[in-house]
């Protein structure tokens, strides 16, 4: 099942599908030049930072928990523990077996 990272439950592990797409309502947009998806994409530098930290397609990622008041997510990837903002996290698509 392909879902944004934010919809994983605490403790759930999934495989990253892509980091450079945007959720428009329920529709997924992967190609920024495609029509109808001309709204602002995720900050490209942030995507770069995410991949540099190891969140590349095909990598396993585990959601540990989220901060209080719907704050950032705590995730575990390649043995390190990261905090990432919710907006970014919602643009990471993962494949999860349920």
């Amino acid at each position: 099942m392909e879902l944004p990272l934010t919809s994983l439950k605490n403790g759930e592990t999934a495989v990253i599908q892509s980091t450079d797409c945007r959720l428009e309502g329920k529709k997924l947009c992967r190609n920024k030049t495609k029509k109808g998806c001309n709204k602002k994409f995720a900050n490209e530098l942030c995507i770069k930072r995410l991949t540099d930290l190891g969140l590349t397609p095909g990598t396993k990622v585990t959601v540990i928990k989220s901060a209080p008041f719907n704050g950032p997510l705590e995730i575990s990837v390649r043995g390190s523990r990261l905090a990432i903002g919710r907006g970014m996290a919602s643009r990471i698509l993962v494949d999860v077996e349920r």
Binding site: L45, T51, G54, G58, A67, P72, G79, G85, M88
Partner: protein
């Protein structure tokens, strides 16, 4: 490089132990400043070892050599253009894969390299064993195991470093290889690039062009615009093949190399059960308990610092004032004596009684928190709130500092990643009421009008910060970055490093703020002895009296309060001729006065810090905006409260 004078740069991810190694190597022979024109800290030091003189540079902690943060740009500029004789890549042995990802990029930059495999003690505790010889073979550069905190392996590392620099070891560094599709395209680009003159190696530039690196693209555009167009085409091809953006493909393949190497050289023996540090992490980031714990910790720290500070400050002040008679016997009690004691000496006393009792413990605790890992947990908890102002969680740290003093707050904005965020944070930070402002809020309004009014003022201030933060966030061009931060394991802080960091920060504060505080103090004294106060009061009366409804003398207190904010209340008392403010000011006047003090310009030392970090123009803009704001809010409050 001369025969026995080298330059070595330390590079690596954040929290790998670079600073500890740097301190082990350089002791107190260090200089901490900024990279020219950048708000990035630069730590330099010198080491004398077996007849060699070695300059050591501690590069900022980064995860990649791309363009995400100013730190990354500064680091790669430095390595490529200054060409240090050797780069020591400090690697966290317990997080091999991600650290090697960075190592691979250093290899691509074709800089002379040595790897310090640090924290092997921690790795062992986590059940990770690493085969250094195999690592050396696979990476093609020397790998030295170290434990920075105990100094183990550090001299081995130095010996090896010298061997490498003097070319006494044959070294064939690994050239990281990508998949076939990427390699073909790199080769194409290298062929064109070989004809041009660039400060970086061609292969690296080619990779960076595929990586869609805007800075490199700009450089290449100037010498060979054609190459940029070719690269664009090649990127589109790769995107079609892989179905991801080209930078993601390149990064992904580089990670595959890192992953393969790390699997080959490390052996994971056992998974240890969650130790204390894991439990601590769970508690301090807990959904329910995390925030209360944080508030309790911050409150405890502030109470501790202020009660210690008040005590120590009074003690130091008394000590200094015992000197007064001897000064008077030397300089007399005339104008000269007044200037020397009341201007110069009281300025120095003012500085010392703030710096030592308050700023020193403040920095110490801050670095203790940073080194232990708690600061990143605070950022994690506060992210959501800061987000409402367009900032992310890390910005909470300078804001928190500013409740003590705006100067460290401004300097603390360096932890933000982009210059846009640094400026935004600095703006917010200068609106936070510092300890000196709190003295006025509590001493004037809290004492004479009522504590609930003092609290209301704090709330008004927070609301204004919030609203203005949002406006500035919308007004400043550029995109916001979100929180992406590592929360490394909790550790017992390394006291020596913490102490050194505190010392260098304190030094920075003294060098920057003291001259301004002393000059301010002398200016005030001169104005006093030359009878300038009266004209100043009259000159400012259209604003103070007509617009704000305050007594005319408050103009003097407000203007000179910029120079010595902590003296505003004392100054006001002496101008009004009484410390019982209730006799001379109405409650409304007290509230309006305090509001203006709270919001108008940060003190002169803070302006100094702003100039240092952002330049004159931005410092001036922030100052002017805040004066206008203070007068506006003050005037409105006066009219609202007197309806």
């Amino acid at each position: 490089m001369t025969n026995n004078h080298f330059t070595i740069a330390l590079a690596g991810n954040a929290n790998v132990g670079k600073s500890v190694i740097f301190n082990q190597l350089t002791g107190l022979h260090q200089h901490i400043g900024n990279w020219p024109g950048k708000t990035v800290e630069k730590a330099e030091g010198t080491l004398h070892f077996k007849g060699y003189t070695i300059d050591i540079i501690d590069l900022p902690g980064i995860y990649s050599l791309s363009t995400f943060s100013i730190e990354e740009l500064v680091s790669r500029e430095y390595i490529a253009t200054e060409k240090p004789d050797l780069v020591i890549n400090v690697v966290d042995a317990s997080l091999l894969e991600r650290n090697l990802f960075f190592t691979l990029q250093l290899l691509e930059l074709e800089t002379p390299l040595l790897i310090a495999l640090n924290q092997i003690d921690m790795a062992k505790k986590k059940g990770i064993l690493i085969d250094c010889q195999k690592a050396e073979k696979l990476l093609g550069v020397p790998v030295v195991p170290t434990v920075a905190v105990s100094g183990k392996g550090v001299s081995d590392m130095l010996e090896t470093a010298i061997q490498v620099i003097e070319k006494k070891r044959k070294i064939v560094p690994l050239k990281p290889r990508y998949g076939k599709e990427i390699e073909e395209r790199i080769e194409k680009l290298v062929k064109i690039l070989n004809k041009t003159q660039l400060k970086y190696p061609s292969r690296w530039v080619a990779i960076k062009l595929l990586d869609e690196d805007k800075e490199v693209e700009k450089d290449v555009q100037q010498v060979s615009p054609k190459t940029v167009t070719v690269a664009q085409k090649l990127r589109a091809e790769l995107e079609d093949i892989h179905g991801h953006s080209c930078p993601t493909v390149v990064t992904s393949e580089r990670y595959q190399v890192a992953s393969r190497i790390s699997k080959e050289i490390q052996q994971i023996t056992k998974q240890v059960k969650a130790p204390l540090r894991e439990k601590l992490h769970t508690a301090t980031t807990h959904k329910v308990f995390g925030v209360p714990i944080m508030l309790a910790v911050i409150l405890a720290v502030f109470v501790a610092i202020f009660s210690f500070g008040d005590f120590a400050s009074a003690l130091l002040g008394d000590l200094f004032f015992e000197l007064k008679p001897s000064f008077e016997s030397v300089f007399g009690t005339g104008i000269v004596g007044e200037l020397v004691w009341g201007g110069l000496m009281e300025g120095i006393i003012g500085g010392v009684t703030v710096a030592l009792p308050y700023i020193l413990p403040f920095y110490f605790i801050l670095y203790l928190f940073e080194d232990s890992g708690y600061l990143s947990r605070i950022a994690f908890l506060m992210d959501n709130l800061m987000h409402k102002m367009g900032l992310h969680g890390k910005a909470f740290i300078p804001v928190m500092l500013s409740f003590g003093c705006n100067v460290p707050g401004c300097l603390g904005c360096r932890i933000m990643e982009t210059s846009r965020e640094r400026l935004l944070t600095a703006f917010v930070v200068t609106l936070v009421p510092c300890a000196a402002t709190s003295v006025i809020i509590l001493g004037l309004v809290g004492n004479y009008v009522g504590i609930q009014w003092a609290l209301a003022l704090y709330i008004v201030n927070l609301v204004i910060i919030f609203v203005l933060g949002r406006i500035a966030f919308k007004a400043l061009p550029g995109e916001p970055t979100e929180l992406i931060m590592e929360m490394s394991d909790y550790r017992v802080p390394h006291i020596k490093t913490v102490a050194k960091q505190t010392w260098f920060r304190l030094k920075e504060f003294i060098v920057m703020a003291f001259p301004l505080i002393i000059a301010g103090s002398i200016v005030i004294k001169i104005a006093e002895v030359t009878n300038l106060l009266e004209p100043i009061a009259n000159l400012s009366s259209p604003i103070t009296v007509a617009w704000l409804g305050l007594p005319a003398v408050t103009g003097i207190a407000l203007i000179f309060g910029v120079l010595r904010k902590e003296l505003t209340l004392i100054m006001l008392a002496s101008l009004l001729g009484t410390t019982n403010f209730a006799l001379v000011m109405t409650p409304v006047q007290m509230i309006v006065f305090t509001l203006v003090v709270m919001l108008y310009i940060p003190c002169v030392a803070t302006i100094g810090a702003l100039v240092k970090e952002f330049g004159w123009k931005k410092a001036l803009t922030i100052t002017v905006i805040e004066i206008a704001l203070a007068l506006l809010v003050g005037g409105i409050a006066f009219r609202l409260l007197t309806i």
